[in-house]
Symmetry: C2
Subunit: 425 residues, 2 copies
């Protein structure tokens, strides 16, 4: 069951000579073989090529903690040796000429590119083929649908996702895994198909918080986060229901309230945080800012191949065409102002605790609502969802933690403390 190992566990076993990259890749590929028909997490996967990569890595000296670790790549990120279809019929069979920066970095670090994980259409909301691993009538969430499902289903320990609205956090919460959206600017975006360049952020789906840390540390050149000494932490937690609290269902609200009580009972400070008036506008502003950018970023597609774009996305794009530059700039300015205000909030708190999604996984006709990701993405803050509790259909729920800009390492440590504290209860 090597495919059940976390990336950190597998990395240690490979370093110790107890596990080969080939055996790990073979276990992941065996899981894919068994489960792919049901889950449909992959846009492209070539088992033979993956095993060949693994054997080559086994012959090489270890290059980093990622050496030999299989990674799934969301199919909006270019690969020079695998088709990249951006979740769109327009790009069927499209083969980029080079790897995205993050893909080439993973290869340089000895990571193994296992395959391309399904994305919704251009990483927007129109569902693609992936099903929830625990229930085929449910959505894995989106837009990083395949990344979340593949990691949740033990097909791969790490997958790259991207988030413009809530496209890492929501599918991670739905699938019961850890979703991490870094501070804006953490992982290089060269070779990412842009949708909204001021918001698009590459992040990860993993089954543990240290795995999320491992990946971003290697890609951005951050020092490794220590998790050994977190037992004594007493994070100052701000419980931020957000202005959209009423859009969460009862199970999600109760789950988050219970988490807050448990954390408080563990002796840490958990204080309610009310964000003031301007923050209540941020979800609408996120939609306007991103739509203005969609309209421009997808000009080739909307002018040449509108018949191959889903009606939902076409409407969203068209709406972007009517947003004036003045309105766009007003939105950008309001977001900038709120970034200053939230920095003040973080003087009192180490992390904020907030909903990850309005509820458990929706039915497959939708990928769910991005409600609880929009504001944090617009604020460019590092966010992480971890699985906690379950909904009325028995599917996973998540809770979201947010840290101040650039303090991703702080986020990892406190999130791990929260995860362990909730697990102990």
């Amino acid at each position: 069951m090597h495919n059940h190992l976390s990336a950190c566990e597998a990395s240690r076993a490979i370093a110790a000579g107890e596990l080969t990259a080939e055996a790990l890749a073979a276990a992941c590929l065996e899981r894919v073989r068994e489960r792919e028909a049901a889950v449909q997490a992959w846009a492209f996967i070539d088992p033979e090529a993956a095993l060949k990569q693994a054997r080559a890595l086994d012959r090489q000296p270890r290059r980093s903690r990622l050496h030999g670790i299989p990674v799934g790549i969301k199919d909006v990120i270019d690969t020079h040796d695998m088709p990249t279809e951006y979740g769109s019929k327009i790009y069927e069979g499209h083969q980029p000429g080079c790897d995205a920066a993050c893909v080439a970095q993973i290869r340089e670090l000895g990571g193994l590119i296992l395959g391309k994980a399904v994305s919704t259409e251009f990483a927007t909301r129109h569902p693609n083929k992936t099903r929830h691993p625990l229930n085929p009538e449910r959505s894995p969430g989106g837009s990083s649908s395949g990344s979340a499902a593949a990691v949740a289903d033990f097909m791969v320990p790490i997958a790259l996702g991207t988030q413009t609205s809530s496209s890492v956090i929501r599918p991670a919460a739905y699938c019961g895994v850890v979703g991490y959206k870094p501070s804006f600017g953490m992982i290089n975006r060269a070779g990412l198909k842009f949708l909204s360049e001021s918001l698009d952020t590459i992040g990860s789906l993993t089954r543990s918080i240290p795995d999320a840390a491992l990946l971003v540390e290697e890609l951005a050149g951050l020092p490794p986060t220590s998790f050994d000494d977190i037992g004594g932490l007493k994070p100052r937690i701000g419980f931020c229901r957000t202005p959209w609290w009423d859009e969460a269902d009862d199970a999600s609200k109760a789950n988050l309230e219970q988490a807050a009580r448990t954390l408080r009972a563990a002796g840490t400070r958990v204080t309610d945080v009310e964000l003031d008036e301007p923050f209540a506008e941020l979800n609408d502003i996120q939609v306007e800012v991103s739509s203005y950018e969609f309209y421009r970023a997808l000009t080739f597609e909307r002018t040449r191949h509108p018949e191959l774009i889903s009606p939902h996305l076409l409407r969203r794009i068209a709406a972007g065409g009517s947003i004036t530059r003045e309105r766009y700039e007003a939105g950008v300015a309001a977001a900038r102002e709120c970034r200053k205000r939230i920095a003040d909030v973080f003087r009192e708190f180490d992390v904020l605790l907030a909903p990850s999604a309005p509820g458990e996984a929706t039915t497959i006709d939708s990928t769910g609502e991005p409600t609880f990701g929009l504001m944090w993405t617009l604020l460019r803050l590092p966010c992480l969802t971890l699985p906690h509790g379950s909904g009325p259909a028995g599917l996973p729920l998540g809770i979201q933690l947010i840290a101040s800009f650039g303090r991703d390492a702080v986020l990892f440590r406190y999130a791990e403390w929260v995860a362990r504290t909730l697990d102990r209860r």
Copy 2:
């Protein structure tokens, strides 16, 4: 001599039925035919295909002020129907699958994509084949070498360039044309080959300031700038020699001092501006921040094809690999702090006047020094160089004007006032 028309003049003539897109394209192509062997401004140009585009546009209703206007595209910007080689041997014959956002927008607006203008290697400093239109032993500057030379030589009225350091401003100054780098975030970058994603900015090379305004207004959805009423302007001009003044040669210094005197004599306020201590660090910081990003953005190229990268760029990339994330973030934070400080400077001034380049065009073994572009690019401010004066070899000099963030329209109006005032002298 239709190819001598500005974009605004040609646009008015086309709208009035006095000029066809075909006649305009034919005149530009004729100039290319005569001059390309000497200037070598184009990485790719297909005269027949351009004329076919022009004839198709002549049959269509006018879509915007860009209708029928030929535009050159720097070859680091993707085109679906023309090869895009990023100025690198690695990408010989590379054919992208789609147009960059700005290219598709120009087509949608009725603009004519005349061809791909030569870029230096990945828009860095290593010279490519283009020669200065006025002297084949001199450099057109870089990295937007072909864009500047083609516009200066009347092959095309507008070309897109990109700037990470000084890659629009310097070649424009060398070639004696108007170079405009917008505020960061003005022209959508989807489909631009990234070098340094926090700095790379798409801008324009034109022979007039209203042409620069026309292009960005159409692409970003800005209202048209009025130039009719600028006679009465009295811009408050800050004469900013910058901390690198001593790196400008005597002719450039004298030229800028004389421009300042002429403007003062015209009755406007021209006051010296000394930027305080932290600004003196910004050129070094720009190099560190961009190098950290180069190293990541070009991972595929540096790991797979190092033998096809110039020694200079390889060294620059390698230096980027040794910059820690901590150092990078310190640089980003210092830049952010200076953005606040410069906003205060702009309470007293409408525009700053600064050098465009250290001198006139260098010899062809180099594309010159980016000294006078680095800080302004890092500060994300809109910058414009306009031709004024000449150097010891009789080649053009430029003067640079800078406005506060997002005030590109202000920059155009004051720059046009400055241009007319200096012309009148």
